[in-house]
Amino acid sequence: MNISKKIVVLGYFGVGKTSLIRRFVENSFSNDYKVSIGVHIVKKTVQVSTDDTVSLILWDLEGTDDIASVRESYLLGTHGIIYVFDVSRPSTFQSIEKDLEALAKKVPGVPTQVVGNKIDLVASEEVDATLTEKGISFDYLTSAKTGEKVNELFEHLAKILALDAERIKGKLQ
């Protein structure tokens, strides 16, 4: 069975949202920074079990330093959220908790993955220590540059969404 799921990727500008998607979809990376504006959408299908695939429709949003300024329409009907921050730039994870709360209000009950990207730039123990100290919990530490944990992140989310779909189907039946 194939289902398709809309996923919104958001976070501060320059944290590597576009790069993560590009690594996942095309398995490539560029050091150049081209600022994204508006929204760019791509699709990639993930095998979640022998019989099932999930088509992830990835909405790569324009970066912002204020979650309140994310255009509401982009979030309409989303099934999953990937919140990306940059482990090498503290400003990008200063207000994670607040941002996640705001998101939960806008799109309640949507599975969210919190991702610290650019882990290749900082020693991971150091990141761990900083984040723990700040009380920030995250799901993945990734590097779009090296590819570390990128596939894992998207595939994990695809599985969560597939399971959700199963559950809903089960309820309906």
């Binding site: 398709s4 809309k6 500008f13 320059g14 920074y33 081209k34 600022v35 504006i37 508006g38 929204v39 760019h40 959408i41 791509v42 699709k43 088509s55 429709i57 909405w59 324009e62 970066g63 330093d65 255009r71 329409s73 982009y74 309409l76 009907g77 989303t78 099934h79 090498s88 730039r89 503290p90 400003s91």
Partner: protein, 506 residues
């Protein structure tokens, strides 16, 4: 006509697509995206794949700004409106590529500059951390080194007093030289680390300027002569006799400059000149300058020469002198300036504003030199004396301090480092000196000899009492020969000390 033009114009800018409720294309313009009828609109672009979710729960319309619909080859940035119709959706796409292109440019510049400045702050922070760590390390490390070095110096001094052959004495002389150089370097490094950590505070006091200069003159005339150089000192005679400032730190600046000048000059003259720039109310602006006829500094090195650790690797034996000069002057609100010409020499100078007391400070010692006006002379037992206590052992220091403070007529200054004694003696007038003969880096008799050799009458005649644990007659005789007026052996009664002092102060 106009209507037609408008329609033509708009036609290129908009695309209208009608789909059924499942998203299959019923009808479409072919202006912006090529869309096949009867095919799911999601095939045209993945944006449209989400229409069912977007229009979920009976939503009537949805508007999307700035959606990237193009390919890298053919850009298309559009606003999209979706309207629910009776049996499907109307999708209106407006091409705003031009408009959004300038928006992108703006965002690019803004984001890049924000990120750059963030990274600069982070980088600076990291550098500061490293610098702090380095200084901390250096400071601790040099402290650790100090103790063994002090032991080496002390033991070398003791060794020197034993029965040695000519050859052994020669070796010892080199050893002493090396250890004292090492000690100076260590002090330099420590100063730098303290300056860098902001731990060094200025300690201003009133001092006698001619004495201050005379001390430098004395030191460097000898040093220069040893290298066959001339050393000249000139000062503006309008400079006030007493100035207020951190004499020790100013001395450190000038000795560093003079040390370097002596070190690098092979022949010629080193001159120290102090000019009065301006005198106002109670502030004097002075220009201190040290000129040499050394090799000079190439223009490309002028910028880096003042940086602390920069120099270490470059020229062998170059200390941190200039970095200390820079740091200390910074602290005093001044900056070092350098003019230099390769092959001709260098000129280092700086301006310093110092306050001066409008009246000569009245010191107990100064009073002694006033013509004896018997009527005004204070009663004998209320007269106060300035005592310089030279002692490095803290316990002895405290007990002596207690003995002297009790009678209530002594001002006591304590110096624990032999090297500082000379400066203290020249710059403040003492009535008597109490001196431990076993100081870490210079012995009491050497110090006494040096003091007795001073060209100032009031300094060379200061009574000196030696304090020693050594009660050998021959040794005591030697101390007296060096110029001590009295020697007291430990342990002694407080009374004995006071009596001796009173006798010498008469």
């Amino acid at each position: 006509m106009l209507k037609e033009l408008r329609e033509n114009y708009n036609r290129d800018k908009f695309q209208f697509i009608l789909t059924d409720l499942t998203g299959r294309v019923v009808q479409s313009d072919q202006t912006l995206l090529s869309v096949e009828e009867n095919v799911a609109i999601g095939e045209a672009h993945p944006f449209f794949l989400s229409i069912p979710e977007i229009m979920d729960a009976g939503r009537e319309t949805a508007t999307f700004h700035c959606v990237q619909l193009g390919t890298p080859m053919a850009r298309l940035t559009a606003d999209i409106e979706i309207h629910r119709k009776k049996d499907g959706f109307l999708i209106v796409i407006e091409d705003l590529t031009q408009h959004y292109r300038s928006y992108q440019k703006m965002a690019q510049t803004r984001n890049e500059s924000i990120i750059d400045s963030e990274l600069i702050v982070l980088k600076n922070h990291e550098l500061q951390e490293r610098e702090r760590f380095k200084n901390e390390f250096i400071q601790n490390f040099s402290h650790e080194l100090r103790n063994p070095l002090t032991n080496i110096i002390a033991l070398t001094n003791i060794l020197q007093r034993t029965d040695l052959s000519e050859e052994q004495l020669g070796i010892l002389a080199v050893l002493k030289d090396s250890t004292s150089n090492l000690k100076l370097m260590l002090e330099d490094i420590l100063s730098i680390a303290m300056i860098a950590k902001g731990k060094l505070a200025l300690n201003p006091s009133v001092f006698n300027f001619p004495h201050f200069i005379e001390f430098l003159k004395l030191t460097y005339t000898t040093r220069a002569k040893e290298k066959g150089l001339a050393f000249s000192v000139t000062t503006d005679e309008k400079i006030p006799e007493y100035l207020e400032g951190d004499r020790i730190r100013l001395l450190q600046v000038l000795t560093n400059l003079c040390d370097n000048a002596v070190k690098y000059t092979k022949e010629g003259t080193i001159s120290l000149h102090v000019a009065l720039n301006q005198k106002r109310a109670n502030t004097a602006s002075l220009r201190f300058s040290v000129k040499d006829t050394g090799p000079g500094i190439p223009p490309e090195s002028l910028g880096t020469i003042l940086e602390s650790f920069e120099q270490l690797g470059q020229t062998e034996g170059v200390g941190l002198g200039l970095a200390i000069v820079k740091g200390l002057l910074d602290l005093m609100g001044s900056t070092i300036k350098i003019e230099s010409e390769v092959g001709r020499g260098s000129h280092f100078y700086f301006d310093l504003k110092l306050q001066f007391p409008l009246r000569e400070p009245i010191r107990p010692a100064a009073r002694k030199h006033l013509p004896p006006t018997k009527a005004k002379a204070p009663a004998k037992d209320t007269q106060k004396y300035r005592v310089l206590l030279v002692e490095d052992n803290e316990q002895v220091q405290t007990s002596l301090f207690k003995s002297l403070i009790e009678p209530g007529n002594f001002f006591i200054d304590v110096v624990s480092d032999g090297a500082l004694v000379m400066q203290e003696v020249v710059n403040s007038k003492y009535d008597i000196i109490l001196m431990d003969v076993n100081l870490p880096n210079i012995t009491g008799d050497q110090l006494t000899k040096a003091i007795r050799a001073f060209p100032f009458k009031d300094v060379k005649k200061i009574p000196i009492i030696g304090i020693t644990a050594n009660s050998y007659k021959a040794q005591i005789k030697a101390y007296k020969k060096a110029g001590m007026n009295a020697v007291i052996t430990k342990p002694f009664e407080q009374n004995e000390l006071l009596k001796t002092m009173q006798r010498l102060l008469k």
